[in-house]
Symmetry: C2
Subunit: 193 residues, 2 copies
Amino acid sequence: MAERMSQMLRSDARDNREHVLDAARELFAARGFDVPMREIARRAGVGPATLYRRFATKEELAAEVFGDEMRACHAIIEEGLADPDAWHGFCSVVERLCELHARNRGLTAAFSSTFPRAVDLAADRTRAMRLLGDLVRRAGDTGRLRPDVTVDDIVLVLAANNGIHATAMSVRVNASRRFAALAIRAFEEPESR
Amino acid sequence: MAERMSQMLRSDARDNREHVLDAARELFAARGFDVPMREIARRAGVGPATLYRRFATKEELAAEVFGDEMRACHAIIEEGLADPDAWHGFCSVVERLCELHARNRGLTAAFSSTFPRAVDLAADRTRAMRLLGDLVRRAGDTGRLRPDVTVDDIVLVLAANNGIHATAMSVRVNASRRFAALAIRAFEEPESR
DNA sequence: ACGTTAACGGACGCTGCCGTCCGCTTAGAT
DNA sequence: ATCTAAGCGGACGGCAGCGTCCGTTAACGT
């Protein structure tokens, strides 16, 4: 559908739309949702009006950008579910989600909280929740996961992971890795190993 | 010193100063550092000019407010150090710090990051760090704490705790409690009990 | 090549915040 | 009761970000 619309655009408009999305992706990832629209436009080599012509509001742009990131989340969880070792799959999901969120400031906002008008993100979110539920159940069956751990705990950890506000990305990612390791320790049944 | 200055103020000015501090405490706690100065003034029943006459800048006001909260942090840590059961003291510090930070949005900003001009807060911060170091060492000696846990891990957990962005305070506090429990599990040496 | 029309971007208006100024008010000393 | 200076707050200017308008440019069908 998005492609059909892009197809009807003139070639320069289509290019600019892509440039805007790329710029938004980079800036949202690096500095969170609070980057000014003008700066996205500037980085895309485009005037503000052009940006607003394609994306009527900041939320609309964010919805499109974070929709992509959401798909990355889904992919990670599904790969974890596909892991023959359920516990290992669970751990790698926690680790990789934490890292993804550390690399994308503001992705957590899309994941846990809700954007004003981003209805489609809510659907992605509930789908991710369902998948996470499967993951937790599957890991629980192995006995390696503490029996009282729920999906909410994962979401809590993800939200908390977003509290790591270091400015430099490398610092953020390192801290996030340590944090993921802590979280996994907290989730693991001590008597299982 | 602060009292000496207040003493020289006219009675109405002194009252208003207190009202402003009370309002700022409440609003910073409830909604974080981003509340408008006007709103603090309004809540204090005071004009903007009055507020700015007492606190030349927003940071100055925040420094004064969070200075008080800082003292609460110190008290918590010192009580933990005074606990005859070192491990129990350690746990209660983690729990109580998490809860305090959950009740005070933006306190973590003062605690871990640095305000532009809040020099005096930095001193409080390093003092808190030293105390936390003592706490960790003391808990480590009991063998209940995993030997690789450092002060940085506590700070990391505190920062992460601040990522719990629920709007309603009761929700935030509950989530924070669960989070503290998770953190303590992660810190505890599994073979020790 | 050329005309039509989509697309562009600089300039604009609006809102919300910070911090200041200045004419009026009132505490508190005499 | 009076006076004076400390104190007050509404109104102001400035800045930054969002979203829009309109005169100009250039894509692309013929």
